[in-house]
């Protein structure tokens, strides 16, 4: 039973990783990345690594996507476009 769950989680992680690479728009990619973080946390839980799962859950589904979103916003605003776009 454990092995089946692990196999499912591994496949989900591999699929999410592939999807994250092929989403070329950073905004969409950050959403897929947070999904990847979620699946990774699931995988770590199934292989009896709760410490790693906790770490992954906090970083992968919140901090990294948030920083990517903020960078996208900064880069989109651009240096010479003025302050019209909020």
């Amino acid at each position: 039973m454990d092995e089946v769950l692990i196999a499912i989680a591994v496949v989900l992680v591999a699929a999410a990783a592939t999807a994250a690479v092929f989403h070329r728009d950073p905004l969409r990619q950050s959403m897929v990345l947070s999904l990847l973080g979620l699946f990774l946390a699931l995988l770590y839980t199934f292989v009896q690594a709760p410490d790693v799962a906790l770490s992954q859950l906090a970083v992968g589904s919140a901090v990294t996507p948030l920083m990517i979103l903020l960078t996208v916003r900064k880069v989109k605003r651009g240096p010479r476009s003025g302050s019209e776009d909020r």
Binding site: D51, A53, L54, V63, L66, L70, T71, K74, P79, R80
Partner: protein, 249 residues
């Protein structure tokens, strides 16, 4: 290198790596096997040092020096980001206009903020006993604070988040780790050796220096991530470039 050439170089390398890696996979100890020489020794040592969570024992006792290295990378990365994202000449700060927040979202944030903070402190404090520790709890604390940004607005977040103080906290966490290590040297042992009495197994004070180093790391991670997010928020929300007015600060 042009794009097609780059892709071809990658493909050749990738095929080679894939072949060698797949070959190596079949010679690795099989998945779920019983051969874990390091794991068995680490578990034995963790129990001898009265640390219930063997993972924390590895991090903050048996491989504490390695964690100092990791922590220093974290410190350097935060420092580098702060330098790169500072406000430079030709940029000005604008006051962001607060967007209207739905009442339900506001209440959700207000209710969750204390819960998330308590969970964060719990995860840090119980690192030596249960899954968790300074690294995980630090991040929970840092992200919890940003619920205020969702619930209220950027101004409210800035009021409870004097970035300078957290920068100091980041440095204090790093320093506390090194000082704990040096204390062991002064006590006549090796750097970062676990010389403190190990205490009763499975209590908050057990594990000797594990608990101290754990809290030092928690402090550094929490403060470091808060500073990082603050810099990114500053850049994304407040700082604007005024290319024409170069020199006007």
């Amino acid at each position: 290198m042009s794009r097609p050439v780059r892709l071809w170089v990658f493909l050749v390398g990738a095929v080679l790596v894939a072949a060698l890696y797949a070959w190596a996979c079949f010679d690795l100890p099989s998945f779920g096997g019983d051969h874990h020489p390091y794991g068995d020794r680490a578990v034995r040592t963790a129990l001898a040092q009265h640390t219930a969570n063997a993972v924390s024992s590895v991090n903050f006792d048996q491989r504490a020096f390695d964690t100092l290295g990791e922590q220093t990378i974290l410190f350097a990365a935060v420092l580098g980001t702060v330098v790169l994202l500072r406000q430079v000449r030709g940029e000005r700060r604008t006051d962001p206009t607060p967007a209207p927040v739905a009442d339900r979202v506001r209440w959700f944030g207000v209710l969750m903020l204390p819960v998330a903070l308590v969970v964060g402190f719990y995860v840090v404090a119980h690192g030596p006993l249960s899954p968790g520790g300074g690294f995980q709890g630090g991040i929970v604390l840092a992200t919890a604070l940003h619920l205020l940004y969702i619930a209220a607005d950027y101004r409210a977040l800035e009021r409870i988040r004097p970035v300078g103080l957290y920068e100091v906290g980041d440095a204090v966490g790093e320093a506390a780790y090194v000082v704990t290590g040096l204390a062991a040297v002064l006590a006549g042992s090796a750097f970062l050796a676990n010389v403190v009495p190990h205490g009763t197994f499975n209590t908050l004070s057990s594990g000797g220096t594990v608990a101290v180093l754990n809290i030092a790391v928690g402090m550094e991670v929490a403060c470091g991530i808060i500073v990082l997010l603050a810099r990114f928020l500053d850049q994304a929300v407040e700082i604007e470039e005024t290319a024409e007015e170069t020199g006007a600060r």
